[in-house]
């Protein structure tokens, strides 16, 4: 049964790749739906790993396509995202990348994906060259990482798995895999391309760049580093991934809360979640090196939940931003506002995606970050002293990134979709036509449902976890409760959702009791200010907070905490302007300086005490 599904999935992917450009949008969406259904069937009907050899490729070698629980799970996410985002060629290329099971076909399909993504870019020239060039570099790095263990004698995954690399070869392969997959997925320091490509891509096709490319890149990283490298690898690989992931998450959050372009914000949100995925993979590696496969499965489960968040909620956010751009004619936050009136359904979808970005319960993003937090606690408890310091700092970075992500989510949804319109064009915004709107609404419904039942996703990820780590979460992740340990209290997201709905209904009911009290309407009070004159139909623009103003308190606090001179300090008549401004900022709050020194000393103490 499940052996038959591999050719069918490969046929769907190949059809999308070859014919996707000419297929009508509904047909390619239906084809992606078929692909998702096949992947789901594979995950449900017992996941017997299968492989087929195709007589193609370089002389003396075959193209090997394979399907196991892990690639089935990623294909499910990919096809769900692809059914909503309209980029069938990229979707087909990415699906073949996930199916590829030897060095040659992996690199070939990765290059095809890079070209398919470059075609989606609206502006030609440097960006296209950069995208294709980046794909070539990533492909070369992955190719080298795969060729190192067997010295190229057996380029299929089965051959590499049978002879995993040892010692310095394995280390070199790890860093090459990190370069290739991390670059493709937008991990620091190669994180800049993703938001830029997202902003430069066409309105209809950019969603997959934010929603499907990062999970596939995470797939490649896990496949190479967790699966093909074998279990006998050092734990410090995980430490590298923790550092890279935490840095990426912080950079993504910082860009998301300050950017002025709504599509860049969607890309930066993908960067933030990509960093969290890398943290999850790193924790799994640390736990596996310490022979704690149950904990490793929990950490990898967190990474899978975050990948699902990217694929479903990330695609939703990117699609909604594309819809806002088309509907309101601009993607600059300071020219939007009040889109709720013209696009109520899109706004509802954006609020769902923002809840995930803000990690408030009971959203999908909250379930994923909660699982990651429990994995961080678990590794800190189990690891040696050195790991505890590293994991504590990673926890701090993850917590800061998530908190800043909440500000970014409120700023994006509030400034662009609520309040008064900032331009007449934004006031005349219109909903997208039906197929696109249906994609938005179904992704939003899926996000809500999976947020309430994250255990279902973890159950679907069970075959992948068994394949990679030999154990799964069936004793810890049930329908209703996900717990870090068997028989321990955990996260009951569905119960929280039910309580929240009941409390809201009760409050609204109580609110409406004695309806005689009623309400009346008038002009906004606005602290007693006079109502705006009639030639300002949307009120006075100067009295509404804008994107820069909303970010300002946090930006100012970050600048002060990092001793960057405040932006209003200007002394143009001094040549040592910069120095004096720096000293000004450093000396004026002496308490703060002392505190920061203490903070640095504590971090040093943390590192020294536990390492000694």
């Amino acid at each position: 049964m499940s052996a038959l599904l591999l050719p069918e999935l490969a046929a769907v992917a190949a059809l999308l790749l070859v014919a996707g450009h000419w297929l009508p949008a509904r047909a390619s969406a239906a084809l992606c739906g078929v692909g998702a259904a096949l992947a789901l069937l594979f995950l449900l009907a017992g996941t017997t790993a299968s492989a087929i050899n195709l007589p193609l490729g370089l002389p003396g070698s075959h193209v090997v396509l394979a399907l196991d629980g892990f690639s089935g799970f990623v294909l499910l996410l990919l096809f769900v995202a692809a059914a909503a985002g309209r980029a069938p060629v990229l979707a087909g290329a990415l699906a073949l990348t996930v199916l590829a099971a030897d060095e040659f076909s992996l690199v070939l399909t990765l290059e095809m994906s890079a070209v398919a993504a470059a075609v989606l870019l609206r502006e030609g020239g440097r960006k296209v060259v950069g995208m294709v060039g980046g794909g070539v570099v990533a492909g070369l790095a992955l190719s080298a990482a795969l060729a190192l263990p067997t010295a190229g004698t057996d380029p299929s995954f089965a051959g590499i798995r049978a002879h995993p690399a040892q010692g310095s070869h394995a280390t070199a392969a790890f860093f090459l895999a990190l370069l290739g997959a991390g670059g493709a997925g937008g991990l620091a320091p190669l994180h800049r391309w993703l938001p830029r490509a997202q902003a430069a891509a066409s309105a209809s096709g950019g969603a997959l760049i934010a929603g499907a490319v990062p999970p596939v890149a995470a797939y490649l990283l896990i496949r190479l580093v967790v699966d093909l490298a074998g279990p006998a690898q050092p734990g410090w690989w995980g430490g590298v991934l923790l550092a890279v992931g935490a840095t990426t998450a912080l950079l993504g959050a910082a860009q998301a809360f300050r950017a002025d372009d709504i599509r860049t914000i969607a890309g930066a949100a993908a960067t933030l979640h990509g960093g969290l995925v890398a943290v999850g993979i790193g924790l799994a590696l640390v736990a596996r090196a310490a022979d704690l496969s149950d904990l490793a499965a929990f950490a990898l489960g967190a990474a899978f939940l975050l990948m699902a968040t990217q694929a479903i909620s990330g695609t939703l956010l990117a699609l909604a931003m594309a819809a806002a751009e088309t509907g309101a004619g601009t993607r600059r936050l300071d020219r939007l506002g009040g889109l709720l009136r013209g696009m109520p359904q899109t706004t509802a979808c954006v609020l769902v995606a923002s809840a995930t970005l803000a990690t408030v319960p009971p959203s999908l993003g909250f379930a994923a970050v909660w699982t990651l937090f429990q994995a961080l606690i678990g590794v800190a408890r189990a690891g040696g002293p050195g790991w505890q310091a590293v994991v504590t700092l990673a926890t701090l970075a993850v917590a800061v990134a998530v908190a800043v992500g909440a500000v970014a989510a409120v700023r994006l949804a509030g400034i662009a979709f609520l309040g008064r319109p900032r331009t007449p064009r934004a006031a005349a915004a219109q909903e997208p036509p039906m197929p696109a709107r249906a994609a938005l609404l179904s992704l939003a419904a899926l996000t809500l449902a999976l947020g309430a039942f994250p255990g279902l996703l973890l159950a679907l990820a069970g075959p992948a976890l068994r394949r990679l780590l030999g154990t799964d979460l069936s004793d810890r992740a049930g329908w209703l409760v996900v717990a870090p340990l068997p028989d321990a209290p955990g996260l009951a997201a569905a119960a929280l959702a039910v309580l929240l709905i009941l409390a809201t209904l009760a409050t609204v009911r109580a609110h409406k009791l004695r309806a005689a009290v009623g309400h009346h309407e008038g002009a906004a009070w606005e602290g007693g200010a006079a109502p705006p004159p009639p030639w300002l139909p949307f009120g006075d623009p100067a009295t509404q907070i804008g994107p820069a103003g909303f970010a300002d308190p946090l930006a100012g606090a970050i600048d002060a905490a990092t001793f960057r001179p405040a932006r209003h300090v200007r002394r143009p008549w001094r040549r040592w302007r910069k120095l004096s401004a720096w000293a000004d900022a450093a000396l004026r709050p002496p308490i703060q300086a002392a505190l920061t020194a203490l903070l640095a000393a504590t971090i040093a103490l943390l590192l020294l005490v536990v390492l000694a």
């Binding site: 609020l351 319960p361 609520l418 209290p489 409390a503 609110h511 309400h519 009346h520 009070w525 602290g527």
Partner: protein, 304 residues
């Protein structure tokens, strides 16, 4: 049978929180006024304000949408669910299994984010400033809160409030330095929330009137009581009744809860130094304490 009792206790807890939140607010305002040499309003004044507002017609701006009208109800509901999970006089309530500290913090963040969105929706200058300030303050306190919970979870082996309280009460952890530092971090966060948030909340509430405003004020009072209850459970984990015990033991638990919350209210009112809370400083102090807690914890190798 025990489930029914647990549900009854849960309901009593809910009614207690709803009834006592404005009273606790009145007490803390009264103490503050006395410390400033003023007579101060009666303790029941917040309740009187709520009743007065509930009788008044609400005025909405003609441009306001359903988001603006529903936000107070939704924010209040999120606060209410969070308050439902923090035990007051008895442990082992019906929702004890849900009482994870991280979702409680998340529900409070949800209430804050919804109110910030509604403030932006009002399209007024003060509303927008209040929303932006509230979210900035959230970044100052949320990471430290998670880090303090991280240390507490390493000490007690769980993030569930009920289980955490059980471990702390059992004395297996004792009054150790990491525990004290983590709790100190929580206190700093609570003070920052309770002292600085009202300013931002006043900005966010400023377009509301009548019943929606009453809900906002009640929600703010509920959050203060929730924070005091949370600190009481972790700092002074004694005196809680078992949900399965007799009504007399519940009464004892009630008295213990009143004493704890009362003491914390007085301590909070006496904390004069935190008048002007700057987010960057709160962030540094709270993060510093939480990191020190983790450092000493690792140095003593005492993880659960």
């Amino acid at each position: 049978m025990s489930l029914v009792i647990a549900l009854v206790v849960q309901l009593l807890h809910l009614l207690l929180m709803l009834a006592m939140a404005p009273v606790a607010l009145g007490v803390s305002r009264r103490i503050e006024a006395r410390l400033a040499d003023r007579a101060g309003a009666p303790v029941m004044q917040p309740w009187r304000d709520l009743i007065r507002l509930a009788r008044k017609q609400a005025a909405f701006a003609g441009s306001a949408s359903g988001v603006f009208e529903l936000a107070p109800s939704f924010a209040f509901a999120a606060t209410l669910v969070a308050a439902l999970l923090v035990p007051s006089f008895a442990r082992g309530m019906a929702a004890a299994a849900l009482a994870d500290v991280v979702p409680i913090a998340g529900l409070l963040l949800l209430a804050r984010a919804v109110m910030a969105l509604a403030a932006i929706e009002s399209g007024t200058a003060l509303g927008g400033l209040g929303g932006s300030r509230a979210m900035a303050l959230s970044v100052a306190t949320e990471p430290a809160l998670l880090l303090a919970v991280f240390s507490l979870a390493l000490l007690t082996g769980t993030t569930n409030l009920d289980a955490m309280e059980r471990v702390l009460r059992g004395g297996a952890v004792g009054a150790r330095l990491p525990l004290l530092l983590a709790l100190a971090a929580l206190c700093v966060i609570a003070v920052a929330r309770l002292r600085a948030a009202p300013m931002a909340e006043a900005g966010m509430a400023h377009e509301y009137s009548g019943r929606p405003l009453a809900l906002l004020l009640w929600g703010a009072a509920l959050r203060q009581l929730l924070w005091l209850g949370l600190l009481g459970n972790l700092l002074l984990p004694w005196g809680l009744a078992d949900a399965t015990g007799t009504p007399l033991s519940w009464l004892v638990g009630l008295v213990a809860w009143g004493a704890k919350v009362g003491a914390l209210t007085v301590a909070l009112a006496l904390w004069q130094g935190a008048r002007a809370v700057r987010p960057a400083e709160v962030f540094l102090v709270a993060i510093l304490l939480a990191l020190l807690a983790a450092a000493f914890l690792f140095a003593s190798q005492g993880t659960a």
